[in-house]
Subunit: 356 residues, 2 copies
């Protein structure tokens, strides 16, 4: 559905229709110029040759320092998606199952299917504020479970998990020695601070990206932090597939980390304002949702068929994604607040009008 | 062995030893400044967002025009290696075998192993000037053969296949409807013109790269041309793995194609001169090899154990790769002429001295 809506948006725009695309999680901001400049400087300096399949040491060292691990625990990947794909591929291609709380980013499910892994979804509930049902999760685990995926903050709900909730999940996972892959792509610009998975006990996997924090989606650069044995397997897999992330992009990522505090602060405040605007504009409607803890989605329950709704809203010039793209949520839809403020205002007013 | 030698080179250099690295196929030239500038301009212009998993239309259109196909037949990949990996993955992950004439680029074999495909190597012979034995190849094919890989010009021999030889291979493949994947990474700077696989009859797969022609190895950009049905499967696979090649890198690739004639000419002449130098410096030695038809390797037979030789030459300051990295060639080694001319001269003199 996600791609179907996207195709329709492209067609409508080609026909000259103006569409507010609340359907794509791609920040509207430009990549900060200092980061662009760093990439250019590195190209000019000749960082255009083959690099290590584990990532360039200056970036691995910076990330290791930031997360209090060793550089040998860090792998740089062409997007966090590649980290997630290759980890699932390596852990589950010869069998086993993985457990994912839902609603969930569609890519997890598509990757699991491609790898041929058995996917066990744990349905979450708006009425319990999207907290993860630990007993429910426990009942899905067995000796064949090789991975649990958390997405914290969550896409599409923008919920940050309560720390006691995460601790309870970690305890369950540790008891069975099942690694948790925690995808924390939205954490650095979260309104509510996120305690990262590496700060809990156990042998877990941290995945993050430069995409959202620095408006670098198209650059394809992310990373994972995990145990050395698995890093080495991922490096061997990178050697025969993607080879390496371009060194000049990694130099730009180092610069991004230099400027992190400022950039993340600016981004966070933009999205916080937008989230507040959205909550206020949708407050007097029939839509029900949790207030976002993080950028940049809303996931309202609309009590109508969301696929029909999506096409209906598209006729009114607003693209959203029906909840079915994120699991068994056919009366929910996702709004992505990644448009200039005036477009967000107009788009939200259109949605509000439909649910008065 | 390839990686083992590489690690030793890194260690020796760290110890302050000067090593001429004839072991890596990475051009010593800088990426032409106009290509770097085009990447920068595209970044500044905001081409930093998500792009199509098939590649950006301007680049696909340019490549389609160049190879007289439709844009829908072109897919842009993060390196030609990714094209090869993903094609082998999609065609062979659920069984079957693939046939590869040897000596061969090590990655083909490593990929086949990773995918779990049965690899059937056809051993080639220096004494027949590395021509492919068509009857021998035919005897390796059966109903389970899903792919034949050609590398034309070949790494490590720098041999361009005779067109009648390719035609005979194509006839055999067509009879059984087995696609040939032709990796023509070195073709655009070949001294001997290469007739590309798309110019033969049949439903074959063309793979090429910007790496060698434009000294863009670290940029990770290549492409494949193949039938639409397989393009669509590759696009779906890209969507859940690498997402897209950064748009600003694809803009630089368009610029590279604009400048292709000039750049390819310059590169070709550099490597032609080096190949001639190598042939002349090694002429009066015991080493036997075919004169390179293309950049930038020599693959001499040395009649001694090549792994021992490689470590012996390393002690003398020259890194080469033993033939065992390219198949069953333990009395051969590969020299990569990707160093400044003076280093090439010195390195070849060292090798020549060892085989007087």
């Amino acid at each position: 559905m996600l791609y179907e809506i996207n195709e329709k948006v492209i067609t409508l725009r080609r026909e000259g229709k103006s569409i507010i695309n609340f359907n794509v999680g791609d920040p509207d901001q430009a990549t900060p110029p200092a980061i662009v400049q760093a990439a250019y400087d590195a190209m000019v300096a000749g960082q255009t040759k083959y690099g290590s399949s584990a990532g360039a040491m200056p970036l691995r060292e910076r990330l290791a320092e930031r997360y209090a691990v060793e550089p040998a625990n860090v792998i740089v990947t062409p997007g966090s998606k590649w980290a997630i794909y290759s980890i699932i591929h390596l852990l589950l291609r010869d069998g086993g199952n993985l457990v994912i709380p839902s609603p969930h980013w569609s890519s997890y499910e598509l990757i699991a299917r491609e790898v041929g892994a058995e996917l066990r979804l744990l349905k979450g509930d708006l009425d319990s504020h999207w907290a993860i049902d630990v007993e429910g999760l426990q009942s899905l685990l067995d000796d064949e479970t090789r991975l649990i995926i958390l997405n914290n903050p969550n896409n599409p709900t923008s919920k940050v998990l309560d720390r006691r909730n995460v601790q309870a999940l970690v305890d369950v996972a540790n008891e069975r020695q099942i690694p948790i892959l925690s995808d924390e792509t939205y954490a650095d610009i979260s309104f509510t601070p996120v305690k990262n998975i590496l700060e809990y006990t156990g042998n877990h996997i941290f995945v993050n990206s430069f995409s959202k924090t620095f408006a670098m989606t198209g650059w394809r650069i992310g990373f994972a932090i995990l145990d050395r044995a698995l890093v080495e397997k991922l490096v061997a897999f990178n050697q025969i597939s993607i080879s390496n992330v371009p060194l000049f992009l990694q130099a730009a990522a180092v610069k991004a980390l230099d400027l992190m505090d400022d950039i993340a602060h600016t981004m966070r405040e933009i999205y916080r304002r937008r989230a507040e605007l959205a909550c206020s504009l949708l407050a007097d409607t029939k839509l029900q949702f949790t207030k976002p803890d993080a950028p940049f989605y809303l996931f309202p329950r609309c009590d109508v068929d969301a696929e029909e709704l999506a096409f209906d809203l598209l006729d009114r010039g607003v693209a959203v994604v029906p909840g079915t793209a994120f699991g068994d949520y056919n009366t929910y839809f996702r709004i992505s607040l990644t448009n200039p403020d005036d477009a967000i205002q107009r788009g939200l007013e259109t949605i509000a009008a439909a649910f008065k």
